[in-house]
């Protein structure tokens, strides 16, 4: 097998439900479910049997409407939430042989600090608003084992430079920044430990169109330059079209279609995907 064929990240049968489930809905396909919601006990099946692979240097897009389970999926992958069932493997951790979801919370923290980066839709979740921007980047570097202020400062400055934050503002706290700038600081922070896998959760949602475009450009050029693998979640097919090599379409917690992004855009199979693609035109 060539290196290209070994996935960087592999997710198998990920399930996440909110609520205990009841005899009516435990079967999963029962008629008491409205979409992915059980009318009887109120349980929500947010992710149902989600499986996918991400290959080196690939951008995998996940598109779906709000409530389709895509953000929950991202939270599970970054251990912000516990999965109900399923497995995930990362090539650079224990040779990709250990299910990340079954590791201790200490190990999961190690994985977060060393192997992954995440950019949240809400910068409050990804940044310490009262610490300096460079401190925010240093936090991730310290967590990944760095102990040299000079090196962290120059790495931080370099990254902030890359995301177009003026050097003289590096010691300011993100709370004084605009939304677009906060997102760029988050991206710099997530990239700081050279993660093999970067998770982007609706990073441009809520930004002005022009700011959106500049953040997307930034991600694209960084991805090309650093050749990182990205999982990108968005409800906006436009964002997906611009960045993703391959795309999964999620609906009601399930993956209903997947393929090369171009293919999905030109020849959507599932009625929901068709509707989505038409609305883009």
């Amino acid at each position: 097998m060539t290196e290209f064929e070994v996935p960087v990240l592999s997710v198998k049968n990920l399930n996440k439900q909110y609520g205990p489930g009841c005899p009516h809905c435990k079967e999963g396909e029962s008629e008491t479910l409205v979409k992915n919601y059980c009318q009887v006990c109120g349980t929500v099946y947010a992710c149902r049997d989600v499986s996918f692979d991400v290959f080196p240097g690939e951008v995998l897009g996940i598109v779906g409407e709000s409530g389709s389970g895509k953000s929950t999926l991202m939270q599970c992958l970054y251990f912000d939430q516990e999965v109900t069932a399923g497995a995930a493997f990362v090539r650079s951790y224990e040779n990709g042989e250990k299910n990340l979801f079954q590791e201790s919370s200490q190990q999961q923290r190690y994985i977060r600090n060393h192997i992954m980066g995440k950019v949240y839709q809400n910068p409050l979740l990804g940044l310490r608003m009262n610490f300096s921007s460079i401190g925010n980047i240093a936090e991730k570097l310290i967590a990944a084992g760095s102990n040299h202020v000079g090196m962290m400062e120059s790495r931080g400055t370099e990254l902030l430079n890359k995301v177009n934050i003026p050097v003289h503002r590096r010691k300011e706290a993100p709370k004084y920044f605009s939304g677009g700038m906060q997102q760029r600081v988050q991206i710099a922070k997530a990239l700081s430990n050279n993660p093999p896998v970067l998770l982007l959760d609706e990073v441009t949602t809520g930004l002005d169109l022009s700011v959106q475009a500049s953040v997307l450009d930034l991600i694209k050029s960084l991805q090309r330059e650093l050749n990182i693998s990205i999982v990108l979640v968005s409800h906006d097919l436009g964002v997906i079209r611009m960045l993703a090599d391959r795309t999964l379409v999620m609906l009601e917690g399930k993956v209903i279609e997947e393929g090369l992004t171009d293919q999905i855009l030109e020849d959507p199979q599932h009625p929901y995907t068709q509707q989505l693609v038409h609305s883009l035109l």
Partner: protein, 281 residues
């Protein structure tokens, strides 16, 4: 001796409970053991944690020394000493050598302690991560997962802001390469005295209801960075105006007659000892 109360104020059951927590603390160096802190006849925040440790450990043959900010004669030290001797009748001393139990606030004596002595430090805020994360259940998790980027991040931020670490007293330490610990508000000057100390060091926080310990011969390292090493307070070129000592922690005073800044040993019993040694000569 006040006989309306049991020996050493507490009932025997309470003393045993506190000793059990102390044993656990010694077994896990630097780990904060919760204990059912009792209300004491002195104010919460005035050394009740240290006092409870002293009272739970003291026996009829012990010799007690109490210091506050380096002084045996400070009102608070006198007050604590009086309470212990009133309820136990044990001998008290100002000579560091003669003491078997030394309760102290904010200082470690200048004279190196021996294996036959126990140093008990009073602690106001036992949690070194408190100003990074206000929630107790969160900091507990951070300790469990050995996630200490926050502790270094606080130092990093100081360097970014001021060009150097600006911790005053209570500069955090890493104990036995496992737990980050607040050494209590001792000056940085005293931090190195904890490393490989011959004497057992116990730390008690009464209001916050925690006991922790540095057992004899334990590695204690002050947190720092490769390029920003830990620095104790500097008293370079200065000496005690009374005994002429150098290389000790000095109080800064203003000579009212000459309006000049003068220095004098903070550890009063050490200073007296030096003076008397000179006197004999």
């Amino acid at each position: 001796m006040n006989t309306a109360y049991n020996f050493a104020f507490f009932d025997e059951g309470s003393k045993r409970e506190i000793r059990r927590a102390t044993l656990k603390a010694i077994a896990i160096p630097g780990y904060q053991v919760p204990f059912a802190s009792r209300e004491m006849p002195i104010g919460r925040g005035w050394g009740t944690g240290g006092l409870q440790l002293t009272l739970s450990l003291i026996g009829k043959n012990d010799v007690l020394k109490v210091i506050d900010q380096g002084s045996d004669e400070s009102v608070n030290a006198v007050n604590i000493k009086k309470l212990v001797s009133d309820t136990t009748g044990v001998e008290t001393t100002e000579e560091t050598h003669d003491a078997t139990l030394i309760q102290s606030r904010h200082r470690i004596p200048e004279v190196p302690l021996t294996k036959d002595q126990i140093l008990i430090l009073q602690v106001p805020i036992p949690e070194p991560l408190r100003y990074y994360e206000p929630s107790e259940s969160e900091t507990k998790k951070l300790h469990a997962e050995k996630e200490y980027s926050g502790a270094w991040l606080m130092l990093f931020e100081q360097i970014m802001k001021y060009g150097s670490m600006t911790t005053g007293a209570d500069h955090p330490v890493l104990v036995h390469e496992r737990y980050v610990m607040a050494p209590s508000p001792i000056p940085r000057f005293d931090n190195p005295k904890m490393d490989e100390s011959e004497a057992l060091i116990l730390l008690g926080a009464g209001r916050e209801k925690k006991v922790y310990a540095v057992p004899p011969y334990t590695k204690v390292v002050s947190l720092d960075f490769e390029d920003f090493p830990f620095e104790p307070e500097s008293f370079e070129d200065k000496e005690c105006r009374l005994c002429g000592s150098t290389g000790v922690f000095l109080d800064e005073l203003v000579d009212e007659a000459t309006d000049e800044t003068v220095y004098q040993c903070n550890d009063t019993s050490y200073c007296l000892e030096k003076l008397n040694a000179v006197g004999v000569k």
